[in-house]
């Protein structure tokens, strides 16, 4: 009997460990999942405000330079925050650059990190791009490492 109880306890602790690992997913895994479930995505990444990529996934056909995108878009996010602040329009939420062929979306996650997505205009719409970013931002924020 005692052995059976021990076995049950062992199984329970294993189950708890499993659920903990599924809850505490790495930022890399979350970004990969975002990439695999978004239509028309050329690249997605979480970057820090210094312009350094934290986790980036680019689609196989895309010729995106993640380092360049992180550095350039960090400047965009900083300027947008400054503009929202100076014009007294509250806190910066998101910025969407529309070009002839792409949507370049940046969304503030925390004061230190932002989410960047580059999408093909052929495969998605502006409304969908904004919706997808909003949906994923919360999940990505949760997966961000926290240092206390």
């Amino acid at each position: 009997m005692a052995v059976e109880e021990d076995n049950e306890e062992m199984e329970e602790t294993e189950e708890i460990k499993e659920t903990e690992t599924t809850e505490k997913r790495s930022i890399g895994d979350v970004v990969k999942e975002v990439a695999s479930t978004t239509d028309g995505l050329l690249g997605v990444g979480v970057m820090d405000m210094e312009g350094v990529p934290v986790a980036v996934v680019t689609s196989p056909g895309a010729t995106l330079n993640a380092e360049l995108a992180a550095a350039q878009l960090a400047v965009v996010v900083r300027l947008c925050s400054l503009t929202a602040d100076k014009l007294k329009l509250g806190d910066f939420d998101e910025n969407l650059i529309t070009t002839a062929s792409k949507y370049i979306l940046t969304k503030a996650l925390t004061p230190d990190f932002y989410l960047a997505m580059i999408l093909s205009k052929e495969s998605t719409t502006l409304g969908m791009a904004r919706l997808v970013a909003r949906e994923h931002a919360a999940r990505v924020s949760q997966a961000l490492p926290r240092f206390e």
């Binding site: 010729t63 995106l64 360049l68 995108a69 350039q72 878009l73 400047v75 965009v76 300027l79 947008c80 400054l82 503009t83 929202a84 100076k86 014009l87 007294k88 329009l89 509250g90 806190d91 910066f92 939420d93 998101e94 910025n95 969407l96 650059i97 529309t98 070009t99 002839a100 062929s101 792409k102 370049i104 580059i118």
Partner: protein, 152 residues
């Protein structure tokens, strides 16, 4: 193809003085202002409309009564966004910039290029209908650009 009708046998054909006077009297800037007023009538929650150069100097603007924005500050600040959006599109090889939409907790800013050196921007409250904002800016951009050509 360039319009060469003003040049005949090496002689430069002058713009008719009548045409020049008309442009002065009508005031191309006045035309620009009335276009911005027309745009303003169609958008709820408007805070500012500005036409400015990429150097941040306002060419024409409309700020409705009750708005806390000043056109000069908005034009100067939005020029930095306009320039960085264009540079980003260029560096990321994304093609020509069509527009830039900045959203904050209390507002929305839509910036659309007018040629290479100037832009049209509309600042609204966050709850202003984005579809209308985009439609109005898109449909008036070419008219504003034409009027701008007469000013410069």
């Amino acid at each position: 193809m360039a319009d060469l009708s003003r040049f005949t046998w090496g002689k430069k054909k002058e713009i008719e003085p009548k045409e020049k006077d008309e442009m002065k009297e009508k005031g191309a800037t006045g035309n620009l202002n009335s276009l911005l007023e027309e745009m303003a009538e169609q958008v709820d929650g408007l805070l500012c409309i500005a036409v400015a150069g990429s150097d941040g100097v306002a060419i024409s603007s409309y700020v409705p009564p009750g708005s806390m924005l000043t056109a000069e500050l908005a034009a100067a600040q939005l020029a930095t966004i306009f320039r960085i959006a264009r540079t980003s599109a260029d560096k990321l090889k994304a093609g020509e910039l069509e527009d830039n939409l900045l959203t904050s907790t209390a507002g929305q800013i839509l910036i659309r290029p007018l040629g290479q050196e100037s832009y049209l921007a509309m600042v609204t409250t966050r709850d202003a209908p984005l579809g209308i904002v985009r439609l109005v800016v898109k449909s008036y951009a070419s008219k504003v650009e034409q009027a701008l050509g007469k000013v410069s």
